[in-house]
Amino acid sequence: MSQKTLVEVKDLTVNFYTYAGVVEALDGVNVSLREGEILGLVGETGSGKSVTSLSVMMLVPPPGRIEGGSIYLETSSDEKDVLLMDDSTLRSMRGKDISMIFQEPRAYLNPVYNVEDQIGEILLVHRKPEFLKNAVASLENKKKSRTFEANNYRRMLRSPKSLSTRFLQRFGSKKNLKAEVRKEVVKVLKSVEIPDPDRVADMYPHELSGGMAQRVLIAMALACNPKVLIADEPTTNLDVTVQAQILNLVRQLKKDYNSSILYITHDLGVVAQLCDRVAVMYAGNVVETGDVFEIFSGALHPYTRALLESIPRPGQGFRSIPGIVPSLIEPISGCRFRDRCAYAMEICQKVKPPFVELKKGHFAACYLYGGSQ
């Protein structure tokens, strides 16, 4: 695991302007993802973990708006701050440098297109020249280098935007291009351990089971070999045996491709099994970040500790955190956990604790560890 940081979110503030008022969904969030590591983003509903991941890809839906902070993303373009990127840079970045998979896989697959078409769409958006070259090469091998089809491909390579190219490409078959794309689709499906990928490529989303659909979604996300993958609770809706298979797959992918993964979940068991580092979020703030072994053996922030204690253990009764998550519409002064914290002090009511490095690589935002001057 190198120390190169691929994603750095600093002080991110996101507000949602709703009928009921302004919801301060994210209030100065700090997250960083290093190359080749799996970072677990843990939090309950309303903690802001999904909003954080959507912000990185600039996909926050209205009435949400990013109000402050910076998001640094290691991309192949010049601009590194996502918040300053223009639309075309964003489009080329999404799917190629960073991709995302979601919780309910079948909701994110278009029901009227089969698997081949959907994965093919992404491949063609980002890697079209490659396929065109391969198609031309295969036609040359078949001694059909002078055909209309081959010339079409050459035209599309040379001047893809010109009017004549776009007009002429409507005529003539694109059989070879499709064949090249299909070869890659099958290869990608194989890499996510889908049995019988040739048959699956022709299937429609409603014919896929939950586990298969999630694998297809992972295949789509990895089709263009992005460096960063964001996974938003991809196994929450799956059976526990299928979840074990998918977690295994993710581990395998990390090993084979050295991917960096931001894995969002609320299940501490998954975090322990999968992640290298953990970031814990509560009510729009990151309260603690650290190495997974350190967090599980010695968590610093009271919320993290309470979460670990609430894991059900037989014979103990169920331990919960008293109180409820505060509403984010009325801004709360000080630390947002103060009403439920067993160690709350006076300063916690007034000033928000800073997010500081307490041990090497282990950050937390809590006055228990000083900083209350």
Binding site: Q243, V270, Q273, L274, F293, P312, F318, S320
Partner: protein
């Protein structure tokens, strides 16, 4: 030790219509021959993955579906049940059998008997957002069972509703609010109040904490335990979350594709799972301890469709211990010692 609920060879098949004239071409065998007993006052856990039929089993027991076959005995004395079982084997056409069945077998209840039964058996659904009518006030939602069953009306009903709401931790102000004004955990409390307002003996909890926040889950589960003690309730706790089931149930049954593959006390099941599926299932649960990481997924493949279950033992296509007999005949649930029932040839052969 009295049994509150006894299920014998229960089957529920859903026909699939197909063809031009919409004939039944196949059927989804959601529950395909389940036999179990629930003791009075216990929490019986029912575990399985999607498609195993646990929710269908719960709803069939509650008579929300009419069973395709089998018997369900609720509150029947032990000798009546054994007499029925005997008569079924020896003299199936006897009039006494029919009379006994009409009295105790709730799968045959209709009309007024069914209405009285509803008072004693209730259900709490998984998703509190869809299980509460979005256009009804909480007062009417919780009060509906009282009115529908003719227990109380008007002022008296309102008093019972307030009492129940208080017991589940909601204030009287909740009466005149709509369900969507509350958080998920509070909505689930409303659903619990609705289930308990008619003072039932038996409550089916269909994944009651799955759709609720993690921090609220513990509160709800503690509430369930308290209510069970206070009202002497018997629970059937259906869930796919094994860690919760381990903490709250006294006995557990594991279902796969419409059949029970193993059942025993919680300790026996979780400490010494015998059936290969149970072992794989329990091993698949991610342990919240980073020093215990597994390298391989315990179970490959996916659950086959319940329309066309495999012949013989349903688990044999994915089972590491599959033998030739597993592909031909279904194994029966046999006591492998210490009241630990398993349906597996490999396991039972070792023991015999």
């Amino acid at each position: 030790m009295s049994y509150l609920l006894q299920v014998r060879n229960l089957k529920k098949h859903f026909p699939i219509a197909g063809g031009v004239l919409k004939r039944s071409v196949a059927s989804v065998k959601a529950v395909d021959g389940v036999t179990l007993d629930v003791l009075k006052g216990e929490c019986f856990g029912l575990v399985g993955e999607s498609g195993c039929g646990k929710t269908t089993l719960g709803k069939t027991v509650l008579r929300l579906y009419k069973p395709s076959m089998g018997h369900i005995f609720f509150g029947a004395p032990n000798d009546a049940v054994s007499e029925i079982t005997n008569l079924e084997a020896t003299n199936p056409k006897s009039r006494r059998l029919r009379r006994l069945r009409e009295q105790y077998d709730i799968s045959m209840y209709r009309g007024r008997d069914l209405l009285l039964l509803r008072r004693k058996m209730q259900i709490v659904y998984q998703d509190p957002t869809t299980s509460l009518d979005p256009r009804m006030l909480v007062k009417d939602i919780v009060g509906e069972p009282l009115i529908a069953q003719g227990i109380a009306k008007g002022e008296e009903a309102k008093k019972m509703v307030v009492e129940m709401l208080d017991r589940v931790g909601l204030s009287e102000r909740a009466l005149y609010r709509f369900a969507h004004e509350f958080s998920g955990g509070q909505r689930q409390r409303v659903a619990i109040a609705r289930a308990l307002v008619s003072r039932p003996d038996f409550v089916i909890l269909d994944e009651p904490t799955s759709a609720v926040d993690v921090s609220v889950r513990a509160q709800l589960l503690n509430l369930f335990t308290d209510l069970q003690k206070e009202y002497g309730l018997t629970y059937m706790f259906i869930s796919h979350d094994l860690s919760i089931v381990e903490c709250i149930s006294h006995r557990v049954a594991i279902m796969y594709l419409g059949k029970i593959v193993e059942y025993s006390t919680t300790e026996e099941i979780f400490q010494k799972p015998l059936h290969p599926y149970s072992q794989a299932l329990i091993a698949s649960v991610p342990v919240p301890d980073p020093s215990q990481r597994k390298e391989r997924a315990p179970l490959t493949g996916e659950v086959p469709s319940p329309v066309d279950p495999p012949v013989g033992c349903r688990f044999h296509p994915r089972c590491p211990l599959a033998m030739s007999v597993c592909k031909q005949k279904e194994p029966l649930l046999i006591d492998a010692g210490n009241q630990h029932y398993v349906a597996c040839y490999a396991v039972n052969r070792e023991n015999s």
